[in-house]
Amino acid sequence: MPVAYFLVLSALLFSIGVYGVLARQHAVLVLLSVELMLNAANINLVAFSAMLGDAGVPGQVFALFVIAVAAAEVGVGLAIVILIYRNRQSVDIDEMSLMKW
């Protein structure tokens, strides 16, 4: 099976994530879209790992690292979202313009 199929699937998921990050207003939904993009990267890593056969083990190792970092990112991101909600009673990211130039 051509490896390009898996790369197209990952490009599709990544662009869906890009759309979600750009078009969503709710902070938790933006985090969901970021998860979609990280998964696209993981599919690439595992596809190349399968393409390389026995030499491809590092691809799966790095996919595991990406999963671990994504879990840490979600924890800290949600803590920040909850703090912002507690201070401003809103999770609308278009209203968070305090640090915008």
Partner: protein
């Protein structure tokens, strides 16, 4: 012949993940968005099993479906967000769609051009098993592995510090 079955399975998963992914970013209900994300992540786990990466697939199911999505649902609950059919999209949807379409077109064109003719051989190797992954993690990649554990600890402490109430802070 086996390759034909694999291709059918792959395209079914492709369609499922595409539809569920698009629903994640278009649905009007935040809980539905999280549940569609579960469908997409399970599809990705199936793709990993298709690629003989069973260990990554089960880590995906445990970590993503088991904890990340649950965390997201807790986040939705704790922020008392309007769950119903409020409009969660801003007014840049057209620009966002154009950007996403461009990203998809350019990146898939480049990758299809660059990796044309490269095949994944499903017959020769039985895939990389858990033993070789474990040997790789605990020999070559032992330093990144330890750094990831430190990163998780730092994220844990950081999340607690960020989200706890300071002394004397009143309940809002």
């Amino acid at each position: 012949m086996a390759d034909t079955y694999l291709q059918i399975i792959f395209w079914v998963l492709f369609a499922l993940m595409g539809i569920a992914g698009i629903r994640v970013v278009t649905t009007r209900n935040v809980v539905h968005a999280a549940l569609y994300l579960v469908a997409t992540l399970l599809g990705a786990a199936s793709i990993y099993i298709l690629l003989y990466a069973e260990f990554v697939a089960w880590v995906q199911v445990l970590v993503y479906v088991g904890s990340v999505v649950v965390l997201m649902l807790f986040g939705l609950m704790l922020t008392k967000a309007p769950i119903g059919s409020a409009n969660f999209d801003n007014n840049q949807r057209l620009i966002a769609a154009i950007c996403a379409g461009l990203v998809f077109a350019v990146s898939s064109y480049i990758m299809v051009e660059a990796f044309e003719g490269q095949e994944i051989d499903f017959t020769g190797t039985a895939g990389t098993n858990v033993q070789s992954i474990g040997e790789a993690i605990f020999s070559i990649y032992v330093l990144p592995f330890e750094i990831v554990s430190l990163l998780l600890l730092a994220a844990l402490v950081g999340a607690i510090v960020i989200s706890r109430r300071d002394e004397g802070e009143v309940e809002s």
